[in-house]
Structure formats: C-alpha cells, structure tokens
C-alpha cells in the first residue's frame, strides 16, 4: 500500500472538537480527560490496545453514551445529551464493529435505509404511492445504486445481507453509512476479522471515500499497520487515557505508545 499523497486534498479547519471527555460506568473509568480534534477532509485514527476506550470514545461522539464531563462540538456547535438519531441529523454516520446490519433485508434495502433522513414524503403519500413519493424513491434509488457500484457489490444487490460473506457485509455497513452523505464518518474497526486481501480492499474504499466525496473520517483500528498507512493523524489511547497524538511517524516513535503496545520492563 502506498503512503498516501496528502498534497491533493485540502485539509481544512477543525470540524469535530473533542474536549476533556470523561466517561464512567459506575466506578469504572472508561475515558479520562480525552481531548483531540478532527480537521475537515482528514482521516483521523484512534488506536490503542484492547480495552483502551476506543469504542467508548466513538460511542460518545455518536451519542450512544453520554460522557459525564467534557464537550464535543461539530462545526462549533456543541452537542450534549443528544441521542444517536440527533447526531445522525447533524451529519455524522457510523459503522459498527460487530456488524449491525438489518440481516433479513436485501443489500439494496439496507443501503436505502441510510437515505431515511433525506426522505421528505409522509406516510400517506407513500401509502398511495403518490407522485412525489414515487419520484423521491427513484431519486434515492439512483444514489444508492451509485454507492453499490462504488463498493463493487452489484452482484449482491438483492441478496439478504445475512447470507453474504463477512467481508462484503462490512462493505454494506459502509454503504449504508455513505448513503447518509455524512460530513463525518465514524468507522468502528472497519477491518476487524478480515484477511489481508479484504483489508486492502477496505483501505482502498476508505481512501476513495475520503478523496472522492471529501468525507472526514474518524476510524478506530486495532491493527497498527493498516492505520499508519492510511491515516493523516493518529490518537493513541491506553486504559482510557490519551498517550499519543500526531502524524503516524510521530506516533510510531512515541515511547509511551511503544510500551503500551509491546509492554515494557521499566514500569
């Protein structure tokens, strides 16, 4: 995988700002005082060993968890006590680590659900398939077909996702999030459980999404290698604390990061 050329994309201003987030579950501190920012159009990775708090961080941004302290703002707009639907309305989409697809539904239907927020017709118009509802469905269908082509899953269009191979289900998950045309895309371990080939495909899709649609991407990954190749900047978490932040090269050279990943005798 080639190290990406950062020059052709314009990394913009800070779009997502995470300030002093602390999250506790009863007595367990999942996150303590985490701050970092995400700039427009960049690929920002959050890495760390198991139990470092990566998924908790993502769930805070996504509105699944409400952190006890700190603030998260998107384009300067702070959101507190928002549920994931309200966060979705603000233009944040996500994928899931343990696939949360609608298993009984076809690939097409799964991705179409991602257009839900953009649907404007009401129940009664849909019920009688009145002109507007019909036109709307067709317009959204076109977008979705574009995404299906982009992700190279044309052959599976009508297949129930539960019957698809795991690697392809991951693509459908990505497709559903893309259908929301998000400003910020949160990817929760997009390459978990994949083989090398599938990982390369997924990396390519992530880079293409970033390049072609200019989507800002926040991604959590366990696998250091892949992340270092595709990310612009990396945050490293360990035991709920931030231990590193910077370009892949800086992070790779950081002594705390090395000891968190490899263990160290001097503790």
């Amino acid at each position: 995988m080639a190290v990406r050329d950062v020059m052709d994309r314009e990394i913009g201003d800070v779009i997502l700002d995470v300030r002093n987030i602390s999250l506790r579950f009863g007595g367990v501190k999942a996150l303590s005082d985490i701050s970092f920012d995400v700039r427009e159009h960049e690929i920002r990775a959050i890495i760390g060993p198991n139990g470092a708090g990566k998924s908790s961080m993502l769930n805070c941004i996504n509105g699944v968890y409400q952190p006890q302290e700190g603030s998260i703002s998107l384009r300067g707009q702070t959101f507190r006590h928002m549920n994931s639907r309200q966060v979705a309305e603000m233009g944040v989409a996500r994928t899931f680590q343990n696939l949360a697809l609608f298993k009984g539904m076809s690939v097409l239907d799964n991705i179409m659900t991602g257009r839900n927020l953009k649907m404007r017709t009401n129940l009664f118009q849909q019920a009688i398939r009145f002109g507007a509802a019909e036109r709307e469905e067709t317009a959204h269908r076109l977008v979705v077909e574009g995404i299906i082509d982009f992700l190279e899953i044309q052959a599976y269009r009508k297949t129930p996702v539960g019957k698809m191979p795991y690697g392809l289900q991951k693509r459908v998950d990505l497709g559903r999030a893309l259908a929301m045309e998000p400003e910020v895309l949160l990817l929760d371990e997009p390459m978990a459980g994949m083989n090398v080939e599938e990982k390369q495909d997924m990396s390519r899709f992530i880079l293409d999404v970033n390049d072609e649609f200019g989507t800002t991407i926040v991604l959590i990954e366990h696998d250091m290698g892949v992340v270092m190749d595709i990310s612009d900047r990396v945050v490293v978490l360990d035991y709920g604390r931030k231990i590193g932040d910077g370009s892949p090269d800086e992070v790779r050279a950081n002594a705390d990061v090395i000891s968190a990943y490899l263990g160290t005798a001097t503790h």
């Binding site: 639907r85 697809l101 298993k103 239907d109 017709t121 129940l123 398939r129």
Partner: protein, 309 residues
C-alpha cells in the same frame, strides 16, 4: 370427503381471525421487543368504538345510509386507535425505554386493564352489534366438482377475504414504502436504526397504530359474527398458542400458525371428539402449543436464539 372439506373450510375461516390477532402481537414484538398483552383489550376497545360510532352517527347526523355510516365509524375508530397508540407510547412505553422485557410486559398488562375499563366506561358495557351488512346466509360452492357441493357460511367467506386483503396491504406497506423499510430496519436492529437517523419513538407509534388498526379489523369481523361484548378481549388468549406455534418474530408464522390452529381445532373436534368425549376445540390450541414449546420453542418460523457462552 365433502364433510371433511367443510370442516377444513370452517377451520380456515376461524384460523384467519386468529391470525389477525396474532399479527398484532407479532408486529409489536418484532419492532419493539414488547410482548403486548393488551392486544386483546385493543380488539375489544376498537370494536366497541366501531359499534358505538356506527350507532351514534345516524343519531347525530340523521344520515341513514349504512355504508356511509359504517365507513365514517370505521375511520373514526381507526383514528381513535392511532390516538391510543400515540398515548401508549408517550405516557407508558416512551418512559420505559431500555427496561427489561418483564417490566414492559407488566406495563402492557396495566394497559390491558385500563383499555378494558376505559372502553366500557366511554362506550358502554352491554352487548352491541356491528352490522356491516355481511350476508349471514350459507351458500353452496364447488357444486360442479363435488356431489352436493360444499356448504359454507357466506359471512366467513367475506371475513376471510377481508383478512387476506388486510394482510396483503400490510405486506405491501412493509415491502414497498420507505416507512415500511424503516419499520423493518428497526425490527432488525434498534441501535443501528437509530444511528442512521430513524426516530425510534415515531416508528413505535406507527407500529402500535398499525397493530391497533389490525385489532380494529379483527374486532369488526368477530363483532359482526358474535356481537361486541367483554368476552371479545379473551379471544386474544387464543392468539397466544398461535404465536407460540408460528414464532413470535414471524409475520408469515402468525398467519400460518393461525390457520393451523383454526383447522386443527375443528378437525380434531370432528374426528377425535367422539373418542375423547368432545370439547376438544377449547383446549386443542393450548396442548398443541405446549407440544411445540417442548420440541421447537422458537416456533415454526421464529428465530432460533443462540447464546454465546
């Protein structure tokens, strides 16, 4: 052969009605994980509303066209069920999000008593008639294929057609509209549905409203057959074995389960009745459900629950 087919037909008709009530259970269970004990009370409430509206409208407006009166009464009763759905979500279930299944079940038990009480307080507690002009006379069908043909009740035939139409409309709604797609999405995975911006509370109101309208149709059909009275809410007890048989999460399961139980109880009454002393119809469904619980607890079409250890 003729009498066997007549029994079979009779069973299918009754089964169709069981299916309708079971459908209400399944819709709500699939979308929200709530086992709605109040489905029977909703049938009673809806039927009472329909019966009384049909009675009041000619009195108030002087309109004496049965078709128009019944249509207005039906629409009004449907609106009442939508409001009931909205109130249940706002006042009860909306406040119990993320609670245990047993808590939600108990809440619907409370809703049951409330609806039974409120329904009789608002609409009265005697026996009312719903007369939607279904012909009561029996007819012979298939006279050319069988000697003597088959004797079926015209009313049952109409009821079966209405029930089948309702199921077809629901299937279209679920498969072809974007709201239907959102409903299916919520049924599959709440968390994921919320993350793509599907509003759970609105979806649940829609599901309860749909279940309410299904209850209304079931109530109208049963009511026009047997009259609207308190015992109507007990019909729902017959739907419990249906959902056990068909699987709590399967819409086709509810329909096929209803038909199996309807046919099963009629056939067993005729063919096993003489041997076992009759009265089989009353307990047949429950015993069949018990057998299913022992052998295939997820039902015919339900999802098998596999826990990771």
């Amino acid at each position: 052969m003729g009498s066997f087919l007549e029994t079979l037909f009779g069973g299918l008709m009754v089964g169709m009605l069981y299916s309708l009530i079971a459908l209400g259970f399944v819709l709500i269970y699939k979308a929200s994980g709530v086992f709605n004990f109040a489905q029977g009370a909703m049938v009673l409430f809806a039927a009472l509303a329909m019966a009384r509206f049909a009675e009041w409208i000619p009195q108030l407006t002087g309109l004496n066209n049965k078709l128009i009166d019944n249509t207005i009464a039906f629409v009004l009763a449907a609106l009442v069920m939508v409001v009931v759905a909205w109130l249940i979500q706002k006042l009860v279930l909306g406040r119990l999000v993320n609670q245990d299944g047993i808590t939600l079940l108990m809440a619907t038990l409370g809703i049951t008593y409330f609806l039974e009480g409120a329904g009789q307080a608002i609409f009265g507690n005697s026996i009312y008639k719903i007369d939607i002009g279904m012909p009561k006379d029996p007819v012979f069908i298939f006279e050319s294929t069988f000697p003597g043909g088959l004797l079926v009740n015209k009313e049952d035939l109409y009821a079966a057609v209405i029930a089948a139409l309702l199921v077809a409309v629901l299937a279209l709604f679920f498969q072809k509209t974007s709201t239907g797609r959102a409903l299916r999405a919520v049924a599959d995975d709440h968390q994921a549905a919320q993350s793509i911006g599907i509003p759970l509370d609105r979806i649940w109101v829609i599901v309860w409203a749909v279940a309410g309208i299904v209850a209304l149709v079931a109530g109208v059909i049963w009511g026009s057959k047997l009259g609207v009275q308190f015992s109507l809410s007990l019909v729902a007890l017959k739907a419990l074995p249906v959902v056990i048989l068909g699987g709590l999460t399967s819409i086709p399961g509810a329909i096929i389960g209803g038909l199996i139980i309807g046919v099963g109880e009629k056939l067993s009454e005729i063919y096993l009745g003489p041997m076992l002393g009759g009265g089989i119809e009353i307990w047949f469904a429950y015993v069949l459900a018990l057998g299913f619980l022992l052998v295939r607890p997820q039902g015919l079409f339900g999802e098998k629950i596999i826990d990771r250890v």
